[in-house]
């Protein structure tokens, strides 16, 4: 067995700056994630035809607040998952669900109760379940790649957070296509679709994030 002293001496000869900066790396990863998600979205779905009108609707715009907050707050946690000893700020992950909950309460107050169920079910549920995971695959791989260059001490959890952020990015694009704008629909279907990416991310993390 090589002595610890000998190891220290040989490592000390390699003093100098690290090969990567995590900040630069994440910038690259984010560009890759957003560009690939955009490409898959434009090829597979594209925005809804009445986009110009839709942006004037509060419900349509709220979807981007929900998904955007999920992507950005999730990414802040993801970055920290790669740094040993850093506080993870997990509470940030509660922001998006909290906003959706507020949206749901407002919608329940406004809509008559006999159409709650049909609104939540909507008409795009299965399209949502198919295309959010599909758009999110490439971003998920990009985020896992970013984590691999870091040092995540909880591989499964870090992978799951990567899935959550990929879900946030994918859902932001998907929301521009979907004509079901009610927070009831968002609260019902989006978590199911994003959940698939979270599960996939956790499994990938377990496999790929050992170091």
């Amino acid at each position: 067995m090589m002595k610890t002293d000998a190891l220290i001496n040989s490592l000390a000869e390699d003093a100098g700056p690290a090969r990567y900066s995590m900040q630069g790396l994440w910038m690259l990863v984010c560009c890759g994630a957003v560009l690939t998600a955009a490409a898959v979205f434009l090829v597979a779905l594209g925005p809804r035809p009445d986009l110009g009108l839709a942006v004037q609707s509060l419900r349509f715009d709220a979807k981007f607040v929900f998904t955007g907050v999920l992507a950005v707050s999730g990414f802040a946690v993801l970055r920290r998952m790669a740094l040993p000893g850093a506080g993870k700020r997990g509470w940030l992950l509660l922001l998006a669900p909290l906003l959706v909950a507020i949206g749901v309460l407002l919608e329940l107050a406004v809509l008559p109760s006999d159409i709650w169920l049909t609104t939540a079910k909507g008409s795009n549920g299965w399209i949502c379940m198919t295309f959010i995971p599909l758009i999110g695959i490439a971003p998920l791989l990009a985020f896992i790649g970013g984590l691999r260059h870091g040092a995540p001490t909880r591989p499964t959890l870090a992978g799951a957070v990567a899935g959550l952020v990929a879900g946030g990015v994918a859902a932001t694009f998907y929301a521009a296509h979907c004509t079901d704008d009610s927070p009831l629909f968002v609260a019902f279907w989006y978590p199911l679709a994003i959940g698939l990416l979270v599960i996939a991310g956790g499994a990938l993390g377990r496999l790929l994030l050992r170091w």
Partner: protein, 179 residues
């Protein structure tokens, strides 16, 4: 870990990242002591896992993952977290080794007949390594090349050669007892 100690180690690591090899050596010695205490604490007495293995694995990880330390963050929690991660990893690897042990036992039985090192034994020792480790260990320990020659021949960085050599030799000695 006193505050003074923390400041000293953070200062040393910052200097090391600036290319100061002497500072890096002091930092690694301090880090080794810290990791040793974390490892002993977590492993407890009579552990089948050698605390010194954890120290070496952690020092390697610290070196290879030094970009995951933010230069304005405290350095001791960073080191301790990596050390704890390596302890958990060591237990995980041990758990997985149980099924391997039977195969090792039959090898030991066969080896009892003849104790000198056959070329076949050398091949067997190398067989358990990854391809990179095998190339490096055979170049240095068998063919007698230096680290810099090996890094040129294999087109690897010197650090990578050292890491592969260290890991390769550690894997062999774990399998066949101390060389």
């Amino acid at each position: 870990m006193t505050l003074l100690h923390e400041d000293r180690m953070a200062g040393l690591l910052r200097a090391a990242l600036g290319g100061d090899a002497v500072a890096y050596e002091s930092f690694l010695r301090d880090a080794a002591a810290l990791v040793r205490s974390v490892a002993r604490n977590k492993l407890g007495p009579n552990s089948p896992i050698d605390a010194e293995d954890i120290v070496q694995e952690t020092l390697l990880a610290i070196h290879l993952k030094r970009h995951t330390w933010r230069t304005d963050a405290p350095v001791a929690p960073w080191i301790s977290t990596i050390a704890r991660h390596k302890v958990i990893d060591a237990f995980r690897k041990r758990g997985r080794r149980v099924e391997v042990d039977i195969a090792e036992f039959t090898e030991v039985l066969q080896a009892e007949e003849d104790e000198s090192a056959h070329p076949a034994d050398v091949a067997k020792a190398l067989a358990g390594l990854t391809e990179v480790q095998r190339n490096v260990v055979s170049a240095i320990s068998i063919d007698g090349h230096s680290i810099s020659e090996t890094s040129e021949r294999l087109g690897m960085k010197q650090t990578a050669v050292r890491v592969a050599l260290h890991r390769g030799l550690a894997a062999i000695s774990k399998r066949f007892g101390k060389p």
